[in-house]
Symmetry: C2
Subunit: 774 residues, 2 copies
């Protein structure tokens, strides 16, 4: 596929219509507002290839598991965020001829995602038979201010003819998921009602009884005057529509405004849904398109104010990072602790919109630094609220105690069904513990520990205790796991897993001690609730002490797993480029016995626990593993880029940054049509702020060690930290810090301590980082 997205610092632009790009564009130009998401499907009929996608956050379906060979412990279903009522749809017939971009000729086509203001726009001229031309302009957005509201303004102008126009505006609940395991439709109709003012369609999922009510109102405007037309009403199973028939005059614009409220039983009692939907759409309709769009601009301006990254001298990089930040904001707003961040957000069906360890390992830092801390806290509470399910999950796998969080989940139950992942990629439990540490460490919200964190830590530690085995000649070992590098399965003593397990035990012991001292009453409550015994904590101490870690003494590196050195050690540049990505060319056994690494594994540990390892250790491991890493997970380059920055490998850091920043815009992995790589977008943010910016938190203090990549003139980013908002601007020569709040901020920059007072500024010349500063 050719690169076809135009470079612009605030917009994603497609010029000219090529159906071959359409599936990718449907992903790239997706809209979302945390409550719902919508792929960039055309509003009008399109008979070409398309992946229809309207998604409601948290409305999912337990799709019956499909598996070749069942294994004990596999889940019964895979929870999927599902394609819901098509609320954007309309049909336009010009003298009976339907507008369908797969059938008419199209010219002057542009599709623009306005990231600054949060809307999607299309402009084109459609050429009908007999040379009749119609100019179309379509704008839509999902309101940030009113998350249940979607608005479309669709205007047409016949350029060289007059005639009859038929407009049909519909709600269509007869939709399906392309990835349904057994071609099942997930929705049945619950109720529908239509009058000349409002059409209200309520659908219900076949299982779990989620209800979605879509309430539609519309307005037709000609020559700036709303017409008072009496539409024909269409009502059939799962479908409601208004039909308007009107004359159109050459050169005169007809505008259609469609307002839809999508409300669900997640938020309201079922029997009130119709009323709430009616109310919401009436409000929106009353406010009107222009004012709603103005609200939208303001809401996005606020988001950008807290989280924008500005890159000087590299428009592509600028566009890339803004696209990432934009999509992250569209996916998750943090207002609802029942929600989380799916790997594809609401931009496609793949991975079902469920939660992975991506959230804790890659997304949390973005929200910590760019949003109010209650948002990151809600991400943590999501797991806290699933603790009982995580215990059940451990029981299902035969563990007598402790909690094993699922690999993939919607409601806390495991959804994935590959034994090497579901049962063996248990390091995820460590990431969930680490996120607690990360959150508390960043925010200083120590009270989270007694209230929620400790209980989760105890149950995770109990899992480790039971899962870790003792062998005479090695000490405590962990057999049969898959590490973060999923290109090795069922290995023994994956260094990262052993390390994060021991770290969790250690952090749990520290937290126990902290809570015992600082919150003695709560401590007693927790001891009562968890029945934690001293034998358990004693055992944890022994396990920490005698944990076995595979190492290569000669190279001075940690070994990814016991058998790693039996492999033929080759570097990525020895691969035939025609065979890359290897996961699309090699059979699984070949991948498994090769040394090639999908994503950071040992290096993930050195990143998470960066303050425990010196720079030379990091360098030796990076130098050993990075050349074998194929980065075939979108989550891989960011961690490597951050470490490369830390090690002073500036070119490498920049190269890896580029792979992540424009991953979808360039469709590097040839899979953007499935949806966007939302969780890896947070990794891109990390590459800039933690990589080039060198952001860390040490002992409750911000640490910065910024530098400007050679390809840039400079860059700036903002971070929220314990009440202060800092704007950090980095040029080739200096770093400029501006405290935009009244709260003073203490920092360590290039190893020196500074305090920036309320609304204060600070300018420091760039310095090389030294070992001691890391």
């Amino acid at each position: 596929m050719k690169k076809y997205i135009k470079v612009d610092e605030w917009k994603i632009i497609e010029e000219g219509f090529d159906p071959k790009n359409h599936l990718v564009s449907e992903s790239l130009f997706s809209l979302g507002n945390g409550h719902m998401g919508q792929r960039a499907n055309f509003e009008e009929t399109y008979s070409g290839e398309s992946l229809q996608g309207s998604y409601m956050a948290g409305v999912y379906y337990p799709d019956k598991t499909r598996v070749g060979w069942w294994k004990i412990g596999y889940p019964e279903y895979f929870a999927k965020v599902i394609n819901s009522t098509n609320w954007i749809g309309l049909r336009l017939l010009f003298d009976g001829e339907e507008l369908d971009l797969a059938r008419v000729h199209v010219k002057d086509f542009t599709r623009i995602l306005n990231m600054k203001e949060g809307y999607l726009e299309r402009n084109f001229i459609a050429l009908f038979s007999g040379g009749r031309e119609v100019e179309v302009n379509a704008i839509r957005f999902l309101s940030i201010a009113r998350p249940e509201i979607g608005v479309i303004s669709y205007s047409i102008k016949p350029l060289n003819f007059s005639g009859n126009l038929k407009i049909i505006l519909y709600l269509d609940g007869d939709v399906r998921n392309q990835d349904a395991n057994y071609d099942e439709k997930f929705w049945v109709e619950n109720h529908r009602t239509i009058d000349t003012a409002e059409a209200i369609l309520t659908m219900r999922t076949k299982k779990l009884d989620f209800y979605l009510t879509s309430a539609m109102r519309c307005k037709i405007i000609q020559g700036n005057q709303p017409l008072s037309l009496s539409p024909l009403l269409h009502s059939k199973e799962k479908y409601l529509a208004y039909e308007f028939n009107l004359p159109m005059i050459q050169g005169e614009r007809t505008s259609i405004e469609k307002y839809v409220a999508n409300v669900t039983s997640r938020d309201y009692p079922v029997d009130s849904l119709e009323n709430v939907g009616r109310l919401r759409v009436q409000e929106a309709f009353g406010i009107g398109y222009s004012s709603l769009l103005e609200e939208q601009r303001e809401a996005w301006a606020k988001k950008w104010q807290d989280s924008d990254i500005v890159i000087e001298g590299d428009s592509e990089a600028q566009q890339g990072i803004r696209f990432n930040i934009f999509q992250l904001h569209q996916t998750y707003t943090g207002d609802d602790p029942r929600l989380n961040i799916g790997p594809k957000g609401f931009t496609g069906e793949k991975y079902g919109g469920s939660t992975y360890w991506d959230t804790e390992a890659y997304c949390l830092p973005f929200y910590l630094s760019t949003a109010d801390s209650h948002i990151a806290r809600n991400l943590l509470l999501y797991r806290y609220n699933h603790l009982e399910k995580a215990k059940e999950n451990a029981r299902k796998l035969g563990f007598k105690k402790g909690a094993l969080y699922p690999m993939v989940t919607m409601n806390g139950e495991e959804c994935h069904n590959e034994w090497e992942i579901t049962f063996e990629e248990i390091h995820r439990n460590g990431a969930i513990a680490y996120a607690i540490y990360n959150y508390v460490h960043y925010t200083g919200d120590n009270a989270y520990l007694p209230q929620y964190g400790l209980e989760v830590l105890i149950e995770i530690s109990r899992f480790w205790e039971e899962r870790i085995q003792y062998t005479e000649h090695k000490g405590y070992v962990i057999l049969g796991v898959t590490g973060p590098n999923e290109y090795e399965n069922n290995v023994n003593n994956n260094w990262y897993t052993n390390r994060i397990a021991a770290w969790t035990l250690q952090y749990t012991l520290e937290t126990l001690e902290f809570v015992r001292k600082e919150y003695p009453e709560r401590y007693e409550e927790m001891m009562e609730k968890t029945k934690l015994r001293e034998e358990e904590t004693e055992k944890w101490k022994e396990m920490i002490e005698k944990m076995y870690y595979p190492v290569d003494e000669n190279r001075g590196i940690f070994l990814q797993q016991d058998g790693f050195l039996d492999k033929e050690l080759k570097t990525v540049d020895q691969l035939d480029p025609k065979e890359r990505p290897i996961n699309q060319h090699w059979s699984w056994d070949r991948i498994l016995r090769s040394c090639y690494i999908k994503q950071a594994d040992v290096l993930q540990g050195l990143f998470f626990l960066g303050d425990q390892y010196d720079l030379e250790t990091k360098r030796r491991n990076f130098d050993f593993y990075e050349p074998m890493t194929v980065h075939e997970s979108s989550l891989s380059p960011c961690v490597h880029s951050i470490l490369a920055s830390e090690l002073g490998y500036k070119e490498k850091a920049y190269e890896l940054y580029l792979r992540t920043a424009r991953l979808d815009l360039e469709n590097y992995n040839h899979d953007t049509e499935d949806g966007l790589h939302i969780t890896s977008m947070a990794g891109t943010w990390m590459s800039v702020v933690m990589g080039f910016g060198g952001l860390r938190v040490r002992n409750g203090r911000l640490v910065l060690n910024p530098y400007t990549p050679d390809h840039w003139k400079g860059f700036s980013f903002k971070i929220l930290f314990r009440g202060s908002r800092l704007k950090v601007t980095v040029t080739k020569e200096k770093v400029l810090l501006r405290n935009e709040t009244e709260t003073p901020a203490d920092l360590l920059i290039f190893g020196n301590e500074y305090t920036i007072g309320a609304q204060g500024e600070l300018e420091i010349a760039l310095q090389q980082r030294t070992k001691a500063e890391i």
Copy 2:
């Protein structure tokens, strides 16, 4: 489930009808004749639970793969022997009331599988409303002499009433497989024709275009007189039937004879199928039921003459071994080299009737010793004919040369789709090489090597060459495999795999040398064809020499794989009986990291290559591994039993023999309803003949080391060996050998040499075996 099969030395008997046993009985009482198989479904309507199964050997369907997560290299389909036209079906209505054993009361029910004569019989009295009683006797068989013919004789007698009888005899092609991946029906109708003499239904598979023509004739007899009734003809899509309406008189028997010929496009041109079917059924009809049954008796007498095992003093064991031998003969006759032996034969749908390494590893010895050598040869030719497919299979997995035979196949293409099996259980390639050795070694048919064997050996060796890797500190290693013990996956240096790989290289080199010397012309041809280069054979020599084998020097044992000693070593008796079989109670990761072994692995190698290891080595390994073995493969106990016999562990040998001999009759694995464990039945035969009988072949000579298990008075078996047939009778005191042929036989018994002349006899006192004799 209670034990419900009555003990009888020649029959399998079920007394009393219990629907709960019916699915198991449908498997146990299955009929087959190599060309077709038929589960013991009732002829008459049965509305209770049933697994309908009529199978035609070699007629299969490529059922689209079902898999949760696709991996490169997975096959597109799983080839399944499919449920075909129901040709046994009939309906009986007594005064309008249908005979259906799920609805009427049943008394005096017996179901008998007559193994001596090869037919299935049922007798019962059905009680209809108003106390009306009908006595039923039904016999059916699949002709050994005429493999396309199935015959049913079904007779009824109203005991206490007269009335009207409606008989409907049908062919029904509207059948499905219960295990179809997507509930698809595999057959469409091709053509049907019916007149008062014959009904002929031709079905075609939706894919691959297999045609099955079923031609039916029938006869109704009352009072020993065939009636000349003009039946009503029924014809609808996929269905043909004759309907007879006749009076029945109290106490008078009505007999129905149904003759069906099932002919397929595997054997005849499509356009001749109807004619062939008509001809075959006319022949059979002309010969008549009684004479056909007499043919059947004779054919089975011949089979038993060559292969019977007689056990004195243990009727259960006698019944068990005969059941196994009977089912093996029903499954595979060896006349068609396109066919092979499915793990369930034609007794169920599970495993699809495809070919596994079971054939080479477990079934070959039975056919070598009990049937003409062309039959074993046909089993080998099956693989020879698939050589090109095996090369393709290796290419699909990225190998540049060599052949990898599939794990599961129908036509030479791989069908299985679990990466840890499909891609990693590569030891199967070794079993296919070993079978060549085994066959040539047993039969002395050295000419097989230049003609067929060598080429297969070269291509398998080439595969090993590419698959084996070199590492500095260990030498040649094989990473990422699954051994015969499938309870370990993706391990490094599975001893059995390394050993069988090196053995294959060695045997290939020896065979090359043999062919070069003995068949120089053919050698040149093969060199030309295979382009074998000296670098390759040199490399093989180096690999044999420097192959790495994991061992535990302290225990003096071979290690199942590199990491085996990291496991917690426990014995089976430490398992909670409630958790057995572990594969029905434990999640896969738990199984994998446990030490528990599914089936012989290291011990499989010590069995295959028994002449290369001394008794003490075998003992140490047996003593180490057997206590950890859960025998959750039906193929496991036999190898252990044979080794136990060799080691003098008589009680153990007997205990393990019992597990295999009556596996299905006792339904030990709770899965007999899925079908019988056909391939493991050959293992049972091995337990007796190679275990208790101590049969081996060394340097072209038969070796026997028999003993009688304590629980038996004695036993006898027959073996064909290079033209002679020996009957070996073992008592508590002595072994009696009788040469039933004109060909003298050389033997080594208890280490002493003997020759038994034409029709000669030999009697020897039993002796303890000594080390030197093994």
